[in-house]
C-alpha cells in the first residue's frame, strides 16, 4: 500500500496556484484566504510527513504506479522531511507577513508564492535527476515573478542579472544531465547509485565531467564562491517577503549537493567516490570569508542581510564538506536556524527601509524604537552565533565536527575569525542604524502589525531550537546516518514491494 501523503506537498500548491490565477484573479481577499489555507494544509502535511519519516524508514511514491527506474518517483526520507518541514514553516510565516501589505503592491503574489512552494517541495521530494531539473525550473520561474513583484527600474535590472545567471545554470544542468545519461542510461537517482560504480574506464572522464558540472549548478543555487555574486543585488532589490522566502532557496542548492554527492557519488561510487569532496570544504571557507568581508562593507541593512546569508551559506557548506555524520547533522541544524534568522532579518530590514521601487533608503525608525532595536539585537547575535541563540550551538557543533574530522586548523581558524568580524560588522551596522540623535528617531510612521508578529515568532522559534537542541540533534544525527547509508534508499526505490515485505517482517 503506497503512502499517498507524499504527493500532498506537490499537489496542493499546484492546484492552489492554478485556482488562484484562473478563478480568484479579481478577489484579493479570496486569494489571501485560499493561499493561507493551502499553506496551512502544506504545513500540516509536512508535520505529518516528518512524523512518518521519524521511524527511519524511506518511503517511495510511484507516480502512475510505474516501477521505479522507468517511472517518476518521489522519495521521502528523514532529510527530505526535515527540509519540507522547514520550508513550510517558513512559508507559513512569510505568507502571514505579506498579507495586507506586499501582496497588494503587484498582481498574483499568492499564485507565484504557491508555485514557488510547488518547486521547492518538489525539489526536496523528487528521486529523479531530470525531475530535479524540472522542479528547479518551477521554483526559478516563480522566483523570477516574485523577485520582480512590485516593479521598479532597479528591481528590473537586478532581475535581468538573476534570470540570465539562472538560465545559464539551467543550461549547464542540462549538459550535466545529458553527460550522465549518456554514460549510465538512467536518471533515477537510486538507479544511478547502482550504475555509477560499474562505469567503464573509457567513460569515467565523461561521467566525472557531468558530476562536476552538476556541482557548478548547485554552487550557483547555494551562492558558493565564486558563484555568489548574483545574490546581493537580487535579494537586496526584491520585496522583503520574497527575500525571506528566498532564504530557503539557497538551501535547496545545499540539499541537492548532499543528496547527489552522498547517494550517487558517495563512498560506494567506485572510481568516482567522493568526486565533489575536495571542492566543497575550501569553497565553503572562501564563501564564509567573502560573506564576512561583505558584512563589514555593507552599506545598508539589506546588504547586511544578504552578505550575512552568504556567510551562513559558507558555514553550512564547510560543515557539509566534512562529509562525516557529525558534520552533516551540524550542517542541517545550522541550516534550519540560519534560514529562519535570515528570513527574519530580511523582514526586519523591510520594515526599516522604505521601498522606493527597489531602493533601500533607510527611513526613520518606527516607534517603539526599542522593539526594533531589540529585534535587531536578537537576530544579530543569532546570526553571528552567540549564546543563547541556536546559531551558537550550530557553530559549536560544526567546530566539534571539524575537530573530529581532523580539519581542526582550517575550520577553527575560519569560523572563529569570521565570527569575530561578523560581530564587528553587525555591531557597527546596529550602532549606525539605531543609536542616532533622538530628533531623527521621533517620527510617527505606521508599520504593519503582521510582520512584527512574524519576526517575533521566528525569534521565538530560533530560541526554541536552542532550548530543544538535544532532542533535535538526536533526530538530525539519525538523519545524517541515514544519508550516509544509502543502501536502504536504493532498495526502497528500486524494489518497493520487496522493501515493504522486509518492513513487514
Amino acid at each position: 500500500m503506497m503512502n499517498h501523503w507524499l504527493i500532498i506537498p506537490v499537489a496542493v500548491p499546484a492546484m492552489t496556484a492554478a485556482l488562484l490565477v484562473l478563478a480568484m484573479r479579481h478577489s484579493l481577499n479570496g486569494q489571501r484566504i485560499l493561499s493561507l489555507v493551502a499553506t496551512t494544509l502544506q504545513f500540516a502535511a509536512a508535520v505529518g510527513l516528518y512524523v512518518f519519516a521519524g521511524d527511519g524508514e524511506t518511503r517511495a511514491y510511484l507516480l502512475g504506479n510505474w516501477p521505479a527506474p522507468f517511472g517518476i518517483v518521489l522519495v521521502l526520507d528523514r532529510l527530505a522531511a526535515t527540509m519540507l518541514l522547514l520550508t513550510n514553516l517558513l512559508a507559513f510565516g512569510v505568507v502571514i507577513a505579506a498579507i495586507g501589505d506586499w501582496d497588494k503592491r503587484g498582481r498574483h503574489f499568492h499564485a507565484l508564492f504557491q508555485f514557488q512552494l510547488l518547486g521547492i517541495n518538489g525539489a526536496f521530494l523528487t528521486g529523479d535527476l531530470f525531475n530535479l531539473f524540472v522542479f528547479f525550473e518551477v521554483l526559478l520561474i516563480a522566483s523570477y515573478g516574485l523577485m520582480l513583484h512590485g516593479g521598479g527600474a532597479r528591481r528590473l535590472k537586478a532581475g535581468f542579472h538573476y534570470i540570465a545567471i539562472n538560465l545559464i545554470g539551467s543550461t549547464v544542468f542540462l549538459f550535466a544531465v545529458g553527460a550522465i545519461y549518456a554514460v549510465t542510461g538512467t536518471l533515477n537517482m537510486a538507479d544511478l547509485a547502482m550504475k555509477v560504480p560499474q562505469v567503464t574506464p573509457a567513460n569515467e572522464a565523461l561521467l566525472s565531467a557531468g558530476a562536476l558540472l552538476l556541482l557548478t549548478v548547485f554552487a550557483i543555487k547555494s551562492a558558493m564562491v565564486p558563484l555568489h555574486w548574483w545574490l546581493p543585488p537580487t535579494y537586496g532589490s526584491t520585496s522583503p517577503p520574497a527575500a525571506a522566502l528566498f532564504a530557503i532557496m539557497t538551501k535547496v542548492g545545499v540539499y541537492s549537493i548532499i543528496r547527489v554527492y552522498a547517494l550517487i557519488f558517495g563512498a560506494d561510487a567506485g572510481p568516482l567516490a567522493g568526486i565533489a569532496t575536495p571542492w566543497i570544504l575550501p569553497a565553503g571557507i572562501l564563501t564564509l570569508v567573502l560573506g564576512t568581508i561583505g558584512v563589514l562593507a555593507a552599506r545598508s541593512l539589506l546588504d547586511l542581510a544578504c552578505y550575512s546569508l552568504i556567510a551562513s551559506m559558507g558555514t553550512l557548506l564547510m560543515a557539509v564538506g566534512l562529509t562525516t555524520a557529525a558534520g552533516l547533522a551540524a550542517a542541517i541544524y545550522y541550516a534550519i536556524q540560519s534560514t529562519i534568522v535570515s528570513a527574519a532579518l530580511f523582514l526586519l530590514a523591510g520594515l526599516l527601509v522604505q521601498d522606493g521601487k527597489g531602493q533601500t533608503r533607510l527611513v526613520r525608525i518606527p516607534q517603539p524604537a526599542t522593539l526594533f532595536a531589540g529585534f535587531y539585537f536578537l537576530l544579530a547575535i543569532a546570526m553571528v552565533g552567540m549564546p543563547p541563540m541556536a546559531g551558537f550551538i550550530g557553530k559549536l557543533l560544526i567546530l566539534e565536527a571539524g575537530r573530529a574530522a581532523s580539519y581542526t586548523t582550517a575550520v577553527w581558524t575560519a569560523m572563529l575569525v569570521t565570527s569575530l568580524l561578523l560581530i564587528v560588522g553587525f555591531a557597527r551596522a546596529g550602532i549606525r542604524t539605531f543609536w542616532r540623535s533622538p530628533r531623527a528617531a521621533l517620527s510617527a510612521r505606521r508599520v504593519p502589525m503582521r510582520p512584527i508578529l512574524v519576526i517575533a515568532a521566528m525569534i521565538a522559534a530560533v530560541a526554541a531550537l536552542s532550548l530543544l537542541a538535544g532532542p533535535v540533534m538526536d533526530d538530525l544525527v539519525a538523519t545524517a546516518e541515514q544519508i550516509l547509508a544509502p543502501q536502504r534508499y536504493i532498495a526502497t526505490v528500486l524494489r518497493p514491494r520487496l522493501a515493504s515485505d522486509l518492513a513487514g517482517e
Binding site: A153, L156, F160, L167, L174, P233, R361, V363
Partner: protein, 125 residues
C-alpha cells in the same frame, strides 16, 4: 566526415557563439546568446541517446532496432522550458529598456543606501 564530427563541431560552435554573446554588455546580445546556448544543449541532449539512422523510437512490429526515446522526451521538455524562459527574459529586457531608457546590463551603484552616520541624518527623508 562522420556525422559524429559534424554534430560535435556544431554543438561546439553554438556554445562558443552563445558564451561570447552572453559576455557582451547589452541586453539583446545576451538574450540571443542564451538562446544559442539552449540550442547547443538541446542538440547535445539529443546526441546523448547515440546517433542512429532510420530506427523507430517506439515499439513497432518488425523493427530491426530502436533509437533511445528518452533523450527525445528530455529535449522536448527542455525546449518548452527554455522557450518560456526566453520569452520572459525578452519581455523583461524590453520593460527594463522602456523604464530606464537604456539597454545596458550593468547595475549602477546605489547612491542613496548609505547607513546613516551622525552627519547624514538630515539627508534621511
Amino acid at each position: 566526415m562522420s556525422m559524429e564530427f559534424l554534430m560535435a563541431t556544431g554543438i561546439g560552435a553554438l556554445t562558443v557563439a552563445g558564451i561570447y554573446l552572453i559576455l557582451l554588455r547589452r541586453t539583446f546580445p545576451v538574450v540571443v546568446g542564451l538562446s544559442f546556448l539552449s540550442y547547443a544543449v538541446n542538440v547535445f541532449l539529443f546526441t546523448m541517446g547515440r546517433l542512429a539512422i532510420d530506427l523507430p523510437p517506439i515499439v513497432s512490429a518488425g523493427a530491426a532496432g530502436y533509437t533511445d526515446p528518452l533523450p527525445q522526451a528530455l529535449v522536448l521538455t527542455a525546449i518548452v522550458i527554455t522557450f518560456g524562459m526566453t520569452a520572459l527574459i525578452v519581455v523583461l529586457s524590453l520593460r527594463t529598456f522602456l523604464e530606464t531608457g537604456s539597454d545596458d546590463v550593468t547595475l549602477a551603484a546605489r547612491s542613496d543606501d548609505e547607513l546613516p552616520s551622525a552627519h547624514r541624518d538630515e539627508a534621511v527623508r
